[in-house]
């Protein structure tokens, strides 16, 4: 079974966007610096390897905020694979392309999971505890999960091998979870 994996470009001090980010400035002030490496995503070596892995995923899970900031990927993230957007507030207009809106995090994970790996987009700042199976950090060292909104919840999840420790967590599979040891 495929894994649910967060792909995230991050600065060494843990930021995934600059200050003042919003729909008009999706990466915030100076934040596009983080994506410089994508200019060389097709060069032989680690950049191409990681980018090809990303493009080989067979479903996408995204937060609503990331989705809107990215212009909804015009309905197609890559290869027309299903895009599951987590949102509390389903938009009134029909979703574009291969996008589906989901309000429940467990349902989202269950529907996205299949034979291939699942690409997770977004830091889940306003979510409950969004813990994917694996983290692939680019460019970087650190990943600030759940940004404090989850309070004690995130800590519990990351040390647990069970999804029951934290309601709203992605299903964690003990044998697949690299942080379970």
């Amino acid at each position: 079974m495929g894994l649910i994996r967060l792909y995230m470009t991050m600065s060494l001090d843990g930021y995934v966007a600059g200050p003042g980010d919003g729909v008009d400035a999706p990466m915030g002030i100076g934040g596009f610096r983080l994506f410089n490496w994508l200019d060389r995503r097709n060069d032989p070596g680690p950049n191409r390897q990681v980018f090809s892995e990303l493009m080989s995923t067979r479903a996408v899970i995204s937060g609503r905020r990331t989705y809107e900031h990215a212009g909804r990927w015009q309905g197609d993230h890559h290869d027309g694979i299903p895009v599951f957007v987590l949102t509390h507030d389903v938009p009134g207009d029909p979703p574009p392309g291969s996008v589906r809106y989901i309000t429940d995090v467990d349902e989202c994970a269950a529907r996205a999971r299949g034979d291939g790996d699942v690409l997770v987009h977004g830091q889940g700042r306003r979510r409950r505890c969004c813990v994917p199976d694996t983290l692939t950090n680019w460019n970087c060292t650190s990943y600030r999960s759940c940004s404090g909104r989850a309070d004690g919840c995130s800590t519990t999840c990351q040390r647990s091998t069970s999804s029951s420790a934290c309601s709203g967590a992605w299903p964690l599979q003990g044998s697949e979870n690299p942080r379970s040891t």
Binding site: L12, D13, N137, T141, Y143, S145, S154, Q158
Partner: protein
């Protein structure tokens, strides 16, 4: 010429200590996890810590122990009992502190300095051509802000502490480019080295 190098173990979410760190709990709750790569028994006493290390981890510890002077923040210095006045090999220790403590032990290798640039200058002079080991998150941030930190040697530990004391906290706004120098994959830890590029 001597370089000033921060050596720091950090979690993937950027913490260098767990929550509730203080005098009797130097690394905070759960923070010993960050030092397991060189102290498997979570012993706070660093003496002889490197003896059991092999491979890349040993290499890193040997580099650290080959530095010719130490600059430490007062908080870090006091949390570790001032290393009893000897961090390693009796090299000079410069403690960054706004005030001279009134009742400090009289350790010959230890000197208190109130200005980070002055501390780094003194340490470079004293290091005899070797590098300067920088200890402490606040000291590192002050040195970064004053453009007197040459390199970051981070030991990235594959754990999310969730909360605690972040290394890069309360930073001044603005971007600081780093030049990746080295990434060494050691048992239980990834050693990342960066050169801090001069401002301007």
């Amino acid at each position: 010429m001597s370089k000033t190098v921060l050596y720091m173990s950090m979690s993937v979410d950027g913490f260098i200590a767990g929550p509730n760190d203080g005098p009797d709990n130097g690394l905070g709750d759960g923070g010993h996890r960050l030092h397991e790569w060189f102290l498997p028994d979570a012993d706070a006493d660093h003496t002889g810590a490197a003896d059991h290390l092999v491979g890349v981890n040993r290499e890193l510890m040997d580099e650290l122990m080959a530095t010719g002077a130490v600059v430490a923040g007062r908080r870090t210095f006091e949390l570790v009992g001032g290393w009893n006045g000897d961090h390693h090999d009796g090299v000079p220790i410069f403690v960054l502190s706004r005030q001279q403590p009134a009742d400090r032990p009289q350790w010959p290798a230890v000197r208190y300095v109130s200005d980070v640039t002055r501390a780094m200058d003194l340490a470079r002079e004293a290091a005899g051509g070797k590098d300067v080991l920088v200890h402490g998150a606040l000291t590192a941030r002050l040195a970064l802000a004053a453009c007197v930190l040459d390199e970051l040697q981070l030991h990235l530990v594959p754990v999310l502490l969730g909360q605690g004391r972040p290394l890069f906290d309360d930073m001044s706004p603005g971007r600081a480019e780093l030049e990746p120098l080295r990434a060494l994959d050691g048992p239980g830890v990834l050693h990342l080295r960066y050169r801090v590029r001069p401002a301007g």
